[in-house]
């Protein structure tokens, strides 16, 4: 056994750290991964800038084939993402993982058309999966895509599409065969231009105060046939692959939580009550250590997942395990942070009295989503106990 990074990987990690130090403004407290916080204008501007710089470095799609500008190194791709997430750097766009889908399912034409702009860090992507009546039961989706002439004509509705109002492309899951014997058989996937005629959007404000969600209405929207990703009615394969590339979601949550945790530890060292630092309080020490242990355990699980991936092993079960664990830890951290901050925890970043830049309040709210997005913790438990995992009977 050997838990070390290779010398090359470690050198790359240091290079990434240096890059992050250069691109982030001084005193940057970090943001959550994902498009949500790009609703703050300064985050959006920085995000676009860093995304371009990542492209210029040749660091987008490090896991892709060399033909498309990659280095065929899932390990490096993960190292980059991990460091960006830990430092709370904006920039890594959804486009990177949607590019993974195009690499896997795209035609040669599609790869030529869609991958280079992603690799250059020029385009932003969104994902259109959920519908008002489609949450965990995603294969019952209803957005209709009817083949007509050189197009598919879309009618219906999507919801909870984060960041689509600023995206150049959206990977949309739609029903192309309403009469399929099984509901997961009539689904196809398309790369849709969100500015197509017939698309209207309504922004939905999340409880963090950020208007990142969109409800998207499709009214006779014409999507060219050449934008079909993968085979018609075989969208299930694409969606299953999309789930496997989200296998590190638990680790994403944990590395993000690690930053908040480190900030909280510093706060407890620096803050005194009645002349005694919070860090000396036995209860606070105990609960911080409890979280440190849980974060460390989650990182170990994540390292194993990344290693298994490199070995070509199936990681469905450990990924689900780590996602549940990560969400639990992040939410617990949010609760503890808010408890330690007490009355101050209520304040947002605009208040001159805010502690830790008001970030703990944000995280306390945003962490509700970690046990929902990318598959609820309950769906993850179903997968662990089901045929891919422990084989409990249905």
């Amino acid at each position: 056994m050997d838990f070390r990074l290779t010398a090359e990987e470690e050198a790359f990690r240091q290079e990434v750290e240096e890059f992050i130090r250069e691109v982030l403004p001084a005193g940057w407290l970090g943001i959550d991964p994902g498009p949500e916080e790009e609703e703050r204008e300064e985050v959006y501007r920085l995000s676009v800038e860093i995304w371009r710089k990542l492209g210029a470095k040749g660091w987008i799609g490090l896991n892709w084939p060399r033909e498309w500008g990659g280095q065929e190194s899932p390990a490096k791709d993960w190292i980059l993402k991990q460091e960006l997430i830990y430092h709370g750097a904006p920039g890594m766009d959804i486009a990177a993982t949607q590019g993974d889908l195009i690499v896997q399912f795209g035609t040669q034409e599609q790869k030529k058309r869609f991958l280079p702009p992603i690799a250059r860090g020029e385009v932003k992507y969104a994902i259109g999966m959920s519908e008002p009546n489609v949450g965990s039961d995603m294969f019952s989706l209803q957005l209709k895509a009817e083949e007509k002439d050189d197009c598919y004509v879309f009618n219906g509705q999507k919801i909870w599409n984060s960041g689509i109002h600023r995206a150049d492309w959206c990977v949309v899951y739609a029903r192309t065969d309403p009469n399929a014997a099984k509901k997961h058989h009539g689904i196809s996937v398309f790369i849709v231009d969100p500015r197509s005629p017939g698309i209207t959007m309504r922004r939905i404000t999340q409880m963090t105060g950020l208007g990142a969600f969109c409800e998207v209405f499709y009214d006779d929207v014409r999507v060219p046939k050449e934008n079909l990703l993968g085979q018609k009615n075989k969208g299930k394969d694409v969606s299953m692959y999309a789930f496997t590339i989200e296998r590190s979601y638990g680790l994403v949550i944990l590395h993000n939580a690690r930053r908040y945790f480190d900030q909280l530890v510093e706060y407890c060292k620096e803050t005194s009550i009645n002349g005694e630092p919070l860090a000396r309080d036995p209860l606070i020490r105990n609960r911080l250590a409890e979280l440190a242990i849980e974060i460390e355990v989650g990182r170990n699980m994540g390292e194993r997942i990344n290693w298994m991936t490199g070995q070509g092993m199936l990681t469905v079960v450990p990924s689900c395990q780590n996602k549940i664990h990560g969400a639990r830890v992040a939410q617990k951290l949010g609760s503890l942070g808010m408890q330690i901050l007490g009355l101050y925890g209520q304040l947002d970043e605009k208040s001159k009295w805010a502690k830790l830049g008001g970030r703990m309040r944000h995280m306390y709210l945003s962490s509700r989503a970690w046990s929902l997005a990318g598959g609820t913790s309950e769906m993850s438990r179903n997968i662990i106990s089901g045929p891919f995992g422990l084989g409990l009977p249905s």
Binding site: M1, D2, F3, R4, L5, T6, A75, V265, C268, K269, A279, R280, I284, R285, N286, L288, A289, E290, A292, I293, E294, E296, V297, G298, N300, M301, E303, R304, N306, W307, M308, G310, Q311, V317, P318, C320, Q321, I324, H325, E378, S380, R381, N382, I384, S385, G386, G389, L390, G391, L392, P393, S394
Partner: protein, 377 residues
């Protein structure tokens, strides 16, 4: 990165599992809970013949020359089988300190005997305060010519009643810092003035009250340097916590497998209870505790084997498995229902061992405090 077992480790795991499945049935485990000695000398000899006692010791002392990670592979299987006996005491609490700090004479005397299964050792640390801290060490060793005269009471000493030699943590000097003035002495367990009383513990393992009444020990039996014993005790406690964690990870895995099997077989309302989502979700959560602990165990053991700093990693695994094993065993009882509540089912063996393991070599609060210190709090 390479997170797979080596071929040798795979073989060790398989052979240990096969051996213990056939030689350590639950009838033996239960019998040994009632037995005064608490282990089977025949099985002990066979284990020695397999090279288990010598596994982490160099070949020049008749050992196997393997590392702590290999020992962890073996200990996992022992925990899975609930193997009774003084293995951890002899190898980890007794042999490893002698290898690390013993004089060449001490090594040559003790290690081959341990490897051959001829000597049982243990370590006496805790006293009636029942804490793993230096201030609790009140047992005194007073120099008298070429000897020490040792007096005091040690409590929760594993396997002292069958030990041939006891490494005793004594106070040789009073200092303002309680961590100073502590000395380790290897005592012949048959020395006059030593008496042991077996404690009746929740797991039926053998822990003792050890009374030392003016026990005379040659000063050359001192282990390491005088007055500097506490640093050694801290290291030994790390090894012990890691070794105990390995047993607990093995037990945890077994409980999980038993529960999955039971949930598939037990039928209520005309269907296996494992088909009910509530049971599935309980078991999914159990699997997180089981799998997360195993990789965390390996990380700590790998670091120790590589000679890397690992105090934090050891406290992470012990602090985690203490809670994880208890959670898993508790949930397993809920799923097994009444049968698991009886002595006719194996589950209760594990539930009791989960609690015993939790408090030995540092409970969760103990290890969280170490992690807190590592965080610079």
């Amino acid at each position: 990165m390479d997170l797979a077992f080596s071929e040798e480790q795979e073989m060790l795991q398989k052979s240990a599992r096969d051996f213990l499945t056939s030689k350590c049935p639950k009838t033996l485990v239960r019998a040994m809970e009632e037995d005064e000695r608490g282990y089977s000398p025949d099985l002990w000899r066979e284990m020695a013949e397999l090279g288990w006692m010598g596994l982490p010791f160099p070949e020049k002392y008749d050992g196997g020359g393997l590392g702590f990670l290999d020992l962890v592979v073996l200990l996992e299987e022992m925990g899975r089988a609930c193997l009774p006996g003084p293995f951890l005491s002899t190898v980890v609490l007794g042999g490893m300190p002698i290898l690390e700090w013993g004089s060449e004479d001490q090594r040559r005397y003790f290690l081959p005997r341990i490897c051959k299964g001829e000597a049982i050792l243990t370590l006496a640390v805790t006293e009636p305060s029942a804490r793993y801290d230096a201030a609790s060490i009140r047992t005194t060793a007073t120099a008298d010519g070429h000897d020490y005269i040792i007096s005091g009471t040690k409590l929760f000493v594993p396997d002292a009643h069958v030990a041939d030699w006891i490494i005793c943590v004594t106070r040789t000097a009073q200092a303002s810092n309680p961590e100073e003035g502590i000395t380790l002495v290897i005592i012949d367990a048959k020395s006059p003035g030593i008496s042991t009383v077996l404690l009746s513990t929740i797991a039926g393992d053998k822990q003792c009250e050890l009374t030392l009444d003016k026990v005379r020990v040659p000063r050359k039996n001192m282990l390491g340097k005088p007055g500097q014993g506490w640093e050694m005790v801290k290291r030994i406690m790390e090894w012990a916590a890691l070794a105990k964690s390995a047993e607990m990870v093995g037990g945890n895995q077994q409980v999980m497998e038993m529960t999955v099997k039971y949930a598939k077989e037990r039928v209520q309302f005309g269907r296996p209870i494992g088909s009910f989502q509530v049971i599935q979700h309980y078991i999914a959560d159990m699997s997180i505790d089981v799998d997360s602990a195993r990789i965390t165990l390996y990380k700590a053991a790998w670091k120790l084997t590589e000679g890397l700093p690992c105090s934090k990693e050891i406290s992470v695994i012990k602090g985690w498995i203490n809670d994880a094993y208890r959670r898993v065993a508790t949930q397993a009882h809920q799923i097994h229902g009444a049968i698991g509540f009886t002595k006719e089912h194996d589950l209760e063996l594990y539930f009791r061992r989960a609690k015993a393991g939790e408090v030995l070599f540092g409970d969760t609060d103990f290890h969280r405090e170490i992690v807190a210190q590592q965080l610079g709090l």
